[in-house]
């Protein structure tokens, strides 16, 4: 038996060596491999601008698109790639994921290019919270999406004589009117992240910035278990009564389509929804309205797509720096964000090319940044780490789907956050 085993081991080793030798191919010299989930339609062609930019600089772009679940699939792939010792040059990433990877020591140091181009001065501090780790720039932010927007059908608002609501009570009154007129009041897709996107705004409207920070950033059990939180869940239940029967599992863009087609009054969604309206040839302020979730004016909850830069060998570093610098170039920031619906990740970009909603978004972002009311969105992984975020998702979604009442939801929330930490 021993003999057989030793033979087996021998065979396997030879096998492995041969396989290794046959495939020892070194990576190409000046190229960047980019893992991202902007895999189709407008955002993919917007990214193509970046690709052409780099190619004119002599850097080849190796495209590694992996779609699915807002980047979840891409993150799985990334784990496999890093474990295999085959990390891409740059990876599209959100919020805490960047910090987690930095803590693993997997990310590159961009400080020299950042210092040369003065990133520290132009990128909002709230974004730097994610783009820097222990004083080192590790990723290049592409955009800022703000998530506390309301998208409304102007025709329905005009027809029913509804003014732009500015408080929770106004909003409820407006929704009542829309519902009474036979429309679906709230166009919504029942997916956990969409439920949580609304929850973000609702929590902000109930308790204001301080409460939001205590609950979602500091994860303070007292705030999570407070009466205000119960009030937030009650408001979620109220909003639940304004969605149609068919909301569950609906993609967000189909919900936007309901507003566009005049079947529904409003949608609560981040600014990427704007792209849908524009594509349907609608004009801001003429066909649709964009305003902040009532009760959250002046504050902005955001998420930011960034390209985290992984440690690469010396040859790759030059190309990587070129990539980072191209991403941060004001011309790209403007061109990309006009298409994407978001606003640039630096505050010194001209708003000339943006539409009315875009200009509004840029202005409000700058103001919120200045007044310290710019917060990471919990729903989009910019307030708390992924495990906590998903724990909160579970509770919010279960409550929104009627699995338990607000009082139970508050208890569940406290324990979900505790388990996840």
């Amino acid at each position: 038996m021993k003999r057989t085993l030793s033979k087996l081991a021998c065979g396997a080793a030879a096998c492995a060596i041969m396989a290794g030798a046959a495939n020892a191919v070194s990576a190409a010299d000046s190229s960047v491999e980019v893992l991202h989930w902007w895999t189709s339609g407008g955002e993919a062609s917007a990214l193509n601008v970046l690709k052409e930019d780099l190619e004119s600089n002599g850097v080849a772009w190796k495209d590694m698109p992996v779609a699915g679940g807002g980047g979840e699939q891409a993150m799985t792939v990334l784990r496999a790639r890093v474990t295999a010792g085959n990390a891409p040059t740059a990876v599209q990433m959100l919020g805490f994921d960047i910090q987690d990877w930095a803590a693993e020591g997997a990310l590159a140091d961009l400080n020299s290019v950042a210092a040369k181009e003065g990133w520290d001065e132009v990128v909002p501090a709230a974004l730097q919270r994610f783009a820097k780790h222990e004083g080192k720039w590790i990723s290049a932010p592409v955009n800022v999406h703000s998530t506390n927007w309301v998208w409304a059908n102007k025709k329905i608002f005009d027809e029913l004589g509804i003014a732009q609501p500015s408080s929770w009570d106004d909003l409820v009154a407006a929704l009542d009117k829309i519902k009474a007129a036979g429309y679906t009041a709230v166009a919504h897709g029942g997916q956990p992240w969409q439920d949580a996107t609304i929850f973000d705004a609702v929590v902000m409207s109930v308790g204001g910035p301080d409460f939001y920070k205590k609950a979602f950033v500091d994860l303070d059990p007292a705030a999570l278990g407070s009466d205000q939180m119960k009030e937030a869940f009650d408001r979620m239940a109220t909003l639940r009564s304004y969605v149609d029967d068919n909301f569950s599992g609906r993609d967000w863009n189909l919900a936007s389509a309901m507003v566009i087609e005049g079947k529904a009054g409003v949608q609560f969604m981040g600014d990427w929804a704007k792209g849908e309206f524009l594509k349907a040839n609608q004009k801001p302020e003429e066909d649709f309205l964009c305003f902040r979730f009532p009760g959250t004016q002046g504050t902005v909850t955001f998420n930011s797509d960034q390209f985290a830069m992984f440690s690469v060998d010396e040859e790759g570093q030059a190309a990587q720096v070129k990539l980072a610098s191209s991403i941060m170039a004001p011309s790209f920031q403007s061109a990309f964000n006009v298409v994407k619906g978001s606003v640039p990740a630096r505050t010194d970009v001209s708003d000339a090319d943006f539409d009315a909603c875009g200009k509004k978004g840029m202005k409000e972002l700058a103001e919120a940044n200045a007044s310290g009311k710019l917060f990471g969105s919990m729903a989009h992984g910019h307030a708390a780490p992924a495990s906590v975020k998903n724990g909160i998702y579970d509770v919010v979604t279960a409550h929104f789907n009627g699995e338990f009442d607000s009082a139970t939801a508050v208890e569940e929330l406290v324990s979900a956050v505790e388990v996840a930490q």
Partner: protein, 293 residues
Amino acid sequence: MSAASKDTALRTGVIARALIYSILLVFAVFYLLPLFVMLVNSLKTLDEIRQGNMLAFPEVFTFEPWIQAWGEAQIGVEPTGLKPYFINSLVMVVPAVIISTLLGAINGYVLTKWQFRGHRVVFGLMLFSCFIPFQIVLIPMARILGILDLAGTTSGLVLVHVVYGLGFTTLFFRNYYDAFPTELIRAATIDGAGFFRIFRRILLPSSGPIIVVTVIWQFTNVWNDFLFGASFADFDSQPMTVALNNLVSSSTGVKEYNVHFAGAILAALPTLIVYVVSGRYFVRGLMAGAVKG
């Protein structure tokens, strides 16, 4: 194996037969429905899909979605359509199927005709490997591929698919060869034929049905795999399923359902053809090997 004559001994009346045919037809409709939905809607314009009846035939036939899906749709930063990924898949599937089938055949041969002490345990261990949830192997597999310098290559994917296909291919061939008369092998050995000669000259030529089953099984599994393809492929080796997923699940933007359905059918075409063309042999092969106790 083929002892049963084709005519059944059952007596059935006219009404019973009508009933049988209608039940069979109802199920045929049930099985065909999703394919029908995809096909019909892939031939419609997007406008017609939006307002229309999912089951209705298109008012205006258009092949535009098919052309789009194959060669023009935006997948990643480049509008390449599914075409290049189709080729990636083929390059991966063909060697994976051939290698795992051959290994399965030879393993089955050893485990039935050259049994050694502990052969049952070996077979049991190999068979159990069919049943592990593949998600658990992602991380350690990635590490091993990295060590072997196979990360992100087609060869790496072939290796993965061979390893996790071995259990089933071995099972199929073992059960098939089990029924193969051992006397023939003995006679051949006495005539001086060696291990490989017997395999090549005696067993392989009569393995047609089970090879069909194994190839169909492996081909569909490898072709349809998403998890391994997404996790272990590189920018230049991503298979069709990953590209299809990229096509259909964009995070923003208009969903072009007609293009999605056309792409979906394109992605499924090779497996569909394999099933339809060799379906007859499939049941025959199952009969010969796979379902024997």
